[in-house]
């Protein structure tokens, strides 16, 4: 089989994302999030993006801070017990600049499943007594066999799944280490997949353990070599979250100037990935 390279630079790959498109972001909270890609979207001054994630943090907040996002479908956006609320997401929603599409994490999964399964909506257990369905507009339907009422979650079909992975080859095969979260489902639910990867490896790497290739090449449209691409978040097995760098971002994100400084500080590492050193002053 001929090697079909899908390798692009980070700016080239980010240019594939058009204003107004829906993109789902891989990882969860501060683990294996596509940070470098989110920063590049901000640098390219994207507008109107509609973001999808079960539980987001830096990536979602940064795209809100940059004015790139107009909608966030998620179950949770925040910095957990470490830093609490996501300041720019919060500000965006409170000001009306960002539409929060209130989900439970499981309804995001259900919507992605509907897309992956080629069906218009996916029934989901739960939600009884919650105000979420009323606000978001989830409808109940009667099961045709039992008559039982079940909430149906409309399909979520992002234009792109943007996933940061430890290992990929130039064709787009990818292996994730540690929690896979919704990345695998997102790769099936989206129209196209953009990978950013810590290491670009030979295809033989995947042939040795094919059962560990969670994302096969035929689903993938672009591959970016992006070492450190999840920083300041974690990317198992390579590096842990950088708490001080996250704190620094939170401080910087409060002002346009601070955000610009933040993007500038990371630009060299993002664009010259082989450097890939940690942020926040740590070695």
């Amino acid at each position: 089989m001929p090697a079909l390279s899908k390798l692009l630079s980070l700016p080239e790959a980010a240019r594939r994302v058009g204003d107004g498109e829906m993109i789902s972001l891989g990882g969860n909270s501060l683990t294996r999030l596509p940070s470098a890609f989110a920063r590049e979207l901000a640098r390219q001054e994207k507008r109107g993006l509609r973001l999808v994630k079960t539980a987001g943090a830096y990536d979602i907040d940064l795209l809100c801070a940059a004015g790139a996002a107009v909608e966030v479908q998620s179950g949770y956006v925040g910095f957990e017990n470490l830093f609490g609320l996501a300041p720019s997401y919060r500000k965006g929603v409170e000001s009306g600049a960002v539409r929060a599409v209130e989900h439970a994490c499981y309804t995001v999964i259900a919507g992605l499943r509907a897309s992956a399964y080629g069906i218009p909506s996916q029934p989901v257990a739960g939600l009884q007594g919650s105000d979420v369905p009323g606000l978001t507009g989830f409808k109940e339907a009667a099961d045709p066999y039992t008559g039982a009422k079940v909430y149906m979650i409309p399909r979520i079909r992002p234009r792109w799944a943007v996933l940061h992975v430890p290992y990929a080859d130039a064709e787009g095969n990818a292996r994730i280490e540690g929690g896979t979260f919704e990345d695998v489902l997102m790769s099936r639910a989206a129209e196209g997949v953009i990978l950013t990867a810590e290491r670009i490896v030979e295809t033989s790497f995947f042939e040795e353990r094919p059962e560990r290739t969670q994302i096969p090449a035929f689903l993938v449209g672009a591959v970016v070599h992006a070492p450190g691409g999840a920083r300041p978040g974690a990317c198992p097995p390579f590096y842990d979250m950088e708490e001080e760098a996250v704190a620094r971002y939170i401080g910087q994100s409060a002002s346009a100037g601070g955000l610009a400084a933040h993007l500038a500080e990371w630009e060299e590492r993002d664009h010259h990935p082989a450097a890939g050193r940690p942020a926040g002053g740590r070695p």
């Binding site: 683990t31 949770y76 956006v77 017990n81 929603v93 409170e94 009306g96 439970a104 989901v124 896979t180």
Partner: protein, 245 residues
């Protein structure tokens, strides 16, 4: 990153971790979600003491992980250390959806008299005064898990209103653990089960936005035993539990 924490808060954290641990029964399948440093700690305590046969599920998917050090994020890869299997987040939700998850720990920014929780909005959700982080899995877990234990580190009338103006999730609440007391759900309402040592009936009443029931008669929550305290230190030597304070 080191944080300062007062001895009082330190004591509250230790108590809450232990009291949460006591809610776990041996052999149960137990899950906690994101931003859940106290339940993460509680699992480590329970399995060292009365619940060695629990099954522990978490967001990265580790089954029965035994991390040497708990991570500051409850999504950290440490929660896969020593795991025997990986059971992905979507699968955990499925497990709950089909009625096979024994116990879930869920937090609430507000917990009301019915045990309903708000993690979403203060004010009009279409233009909120405060956008909270969102309920994560709770709206689907709370109605489907066999039992749910709630916790909140702040116990004040705003956190415990008669009714949440906005309900993120509603369902099968069994117990609520706070720095002041335990509640159980009875006849559709939260009622006090016990007061922690040194907490007056009046203090509970004043801190609670709904009628908490017979506070005077409520027994004292047994203080952490030496064995529990030792298990707590072993489970969380780094003090991740203090992050919630």
């Amino acid at each position: 990153m080191k944080r300062e924490i007062s001895p009082e808060k330190r004591r509250a954290a230790d108590r809450m971790a232990v009291f949460l641990a006591r809610q776990i029964r041996d052999g149960e399948i137990v899950f906690h979600g994101v931003a859940s440093a106290l339940p993460m700690t509680a699992v480590g305590v329970a399995r060292r003491l009365h619940a060695p046969g629990l099954t522990y599920l978490n967001i990265p998917g580790g089954v029965d992980a035994r991390p040497a050090h708990l991570p500051g994020s409850t999504v950290g890869a440490q929660l896969l250390e020593g795991a025997r299997a990986v059971f992905n987040l979507a699968e955990i939700f499925d497990l709950s959806a089909r009625g096979a998850l024994d116990l879930a720990f869920l937090g609430g920014a507000q917990i009301d008299s019915r045990g309903d929780i708000n993690l979403s909005y203060i004010g009009d959700p279409r233009r909120p005064k405060v956008r909270l982080p969102g309920g994560a899995g709770s709206a689907c877990i709370l109605p489907t898990a066999r039992r749910t234990v709630l916790w909140r580190t702040a116990h004040d009338p705003r956190s415990f209103p008669e009714r949440c103006a906005w309900v993120t999730a509603s369902g099968r609440v069994d117990r609520v653990v706070t720095p002041l007391c335990l509640f159980r759900k009875e006849g559709g309402r939260l009622v006090i089960e016990s007061r922690h040592a040194g907490v007056s009936a009046e203090a509970v009443r004043e801190a609670t936005g709904f009628d908490p029931g017979p506070c005077e008669e409520a027994p004292e929550t047994p203080e952490p035993t030496p064995a529990e305290t030792a298990a707590l230190q072993a489970a969380d030597p780094g003090g991740v539990r203090f992050l919630e304070f």
